[in-house]
């Protein structure tokens, strides 16, 4: 039997972070993962992450994955792939299926970071080819460069649903609609707004009645539901699609912990069956830890911190660091974790209806129902001001933990303050130089540069653009408003894509004066998007 100080199961954000933390303290660490590539879901995440600097905000998920792998290598973490942990037993022994063989390992500490699996929902025709999970769609697009379909209907408006819908658009698919049985959009408003301005309609309080087709999906019928989630007759709507993508939540993959005999609980707020853990992620069995989604569904940024906490706690437990070092470390990590858990989407607010921001601004009902702010609503928020010359317009209207815009502005035009969930405020007395760093750094793509004084009859609007082909200066097209409606013809007057923008290209378009506060997307002629 082979022995290690720490055995980590799962090489996703939580597992790698735990392994790095422990290995950096001098522990001998091995990570097992059943997949052929490390990183868990990180390498499917091509969008920029939220948070602040310490959470690696505005970095794309797959780049965070690359960074973690480099750190793991530097810390001499051994990562074993295609290694399926099939058993976790008393005395912290595991059995692993490697190369047609069952191998026994023993660790003084074991950190389970097995993540989660996707939930499914059964409807007539749900077993037809063409009904896929959102994770499968991401795997096809972002790992294998395969389009999952041509016309897609997304079920689920949580962050996974809206983020994957946007990625489907980026890969060249049409997204016919985003459907959710809930009465409001579950994901961040800024994520919803990104797809709404591309013209994707939201159908809240709707569910799938039937996936049409004999051999594979040829269409889908949805219908409106009442307050008891029963379909209201006569509300059926048909969509001509070849793919139905399902993003209805995740369940912790906690079977190994149950097998070992850890105390467990059924906790709907954490997404299902989870171990009971202390503040270090240690389960009821001394030396067995759980970190990341397996101990409660959250997201990758908090999973990385949970991993770090468990790794440090394991190092203390095995005598590699003293109590003082542990406490200093944990205090810092807990602070970072709690700042991520603040705001209206934090775990403490799950399922609650919130009508006002922390600052007292009304939450847009339109944003929650249709995915975009109306022309009137947008004017109320502190990021939207009329200033002479070029200036940022920040259409950020919900308290989410994110502050890169404040950090990147060289002119200090944007203020969020200490609390990273606060809405960004544009300072009217500062002078914007139009550098565009805020536009490119906004993970929610909700910052635009507007210049009402661009030309006598024209306003310029600079917007983030992450589609191909990239238009050039002089490319003509149509300006779309926040709801994705065509509002006027327009022309690209500038394209900026320096490496500091990390593939978020900045298009500047010129539109008639009255369209300056409406135009929010550029549609190229002859291109799907």
């Amino acid at each position: 039997m082979k022995r290690y100080d720490v055995i980590v199961v799962g090489s996703g954000p939580a597992g790698l972070s735990a392994a790095i933390e422990a290995a950096e303290k001098g522990l001998k660490v091995v990570v097992f993962d059943e997949n052929s590539k490390p990183g868990g879901q990180l390498f499917k995440q091509i969008h920029k992450f939220f948070g602040s600097k310490e959470h690696r905000a505005k970095m794309r998920g797959f780049k965070i994955g690359e960074e973690l792998l480099r750190e793991a290598e530097k810390a001499s973490v051994e990562v074993v792939l295609n290694a399926i942990v099939v058993g976790l037993f008393l005395d912290k022994e595991i059995t692993v299926n490697i190369n047609e063989e069952i191998v026994h390992y023993k660790g003084d500490a074991i950190i389970i970071a097995t993540g989660a699996s996707e939930n499914m929902v059964a409807f007539d025709g749900w077993t037809l080819p063409g009904v896929i999970g959102a994770g499968a769609a991401q795997t096809m697009m972002n790992l294998h460069s395969v389009k999952p379909g041509n016309k897609v209907l997304m079920l689920g408006s949580g962050n996974v649903g809206v983020v994957v819908s946007y990625q489907l658009l980026q890969s060249g698919c049409q997204v016919a609609a985003i459907v959710d049985a809930a009465s409001k959009i579950g994901g961040y408003g800024v994520h919803a707004a990104k797809v709404a301005r591309c013209g994707v309609p939201f159908y809240l309080s709707h569910t799938i009645i039937k996936a049409e087709g004999d051999e594979y999906v040829t269409g889908v019928t949805i219908g409106e539901v009442d307050s008891r989630f029963q379909v209201i007759p006569g509300t059926e709507k048909y969509f001509d699609v070849d793919t139905i993508c399902v993003a209805v939540g995740l369940s912790p993959m906690s079977q190994l912990l149950k097998m070992a005999g850890c105390d467990m609980e059924e906790n709907p707020k954490k997404g299902g069956f989870v171990p009971l853990c202390d503040e270090y992620g240690e389960t009821s069995i001394s030396g067995i830890f759980a970190a990341g989604d397996v101990s409660g569904i959250e997201e990758a940024s908090s999973a990385m911190i949970e991993g770090r906490i468990s790794g440090a706690a394991a190092a203390y437990k095995l005598g590699f660091i003293d109590k003082e070092e542990l406490e200093i470390k944990i205090e810092k990590l807990e602070k970072a974790l709690s700042s991520l858990r603040q705001g209206m989407f934090g775990p403490g607010n799950k399922g609650k209806d919130i009508f006002r921001t922390e600052e007292g601004y009304d939450i847009s009902i339109n944003l929650l129902k249709k995915g975009y702010l109306t022309d009137e609503e947008v004017m109320k928020y502190p990021g939207v001001k009329f200033i002479k010359g070029i200036h940022p317009v920040i259409e950020c209207s919900q308290n989410i933990p994110c502050n890169p815009c404040q950090d990147v502005c060289p002119q200090k035009c944007i203020k969020i303050g200490e609390k990273i969930t606060s809405l960004p405020v544009v300072d009217e007395d500062s002078t914007c130089i139009g550098c565009g760093l805020c536009v490119a750094s906004c993970s929610g793509q909700s910052i635009f540069l507007v210049n009402e004084d661009y030309e006598e009859e024209y306003t310029s609007v600079t917007l983030p653009y992450e589609f191909l082909p990239l238009p050039e200066k002089g490319t003509r097209g149509i300006a779309l408003d926040r709801s994705g409606h065509r509002i006027c013809e327009t022309e690209v007057v500038e394209v900026k894509s320096p490496s500091a923008f990390d593939h978020t290209n900045l298009l500047t378009i010129k539109v008639p004066k009255e369209m300056g506060m409406k135009a929010r997307f550029f549609k190229q002629q002859g291109v799907g998007i």
Binding site: E101, I102, S117, A122, D124, T127, S251, M259, F273
Partner: protein, 107 residues
Amino acid sequence: MNKVNDRSRDIGEFISQYDDNMIICRCEEITKGEIRKAVHDGMFTITEIRRYLRAGMGLCQGQTCSKLVKAIVAGELNISPARLESVMSRAPMRPIEMKILGNEGGR
């Protein structure tokens, strides 16, 4: 005995529903109707349903259908799904060929 497992409790007659033919467990091809009937046959726990029908015992080991089966059983018993105990978890966690399971260190 907890209330959920009380077989003397009257859960009413089995009444067929329009979507009883819908497959719930894809791996073992078990329908919603079969699961509902099993509850009326006296299978009140997920473990019993698994042994009786093999729902959740196939290739994916219930990864896809566990929550769906739980919701159907809970619906039939008229209780919250959270009150149904999860199934046993035992090695091997993933489907595995017998020759590999038996191959421990070349012995």
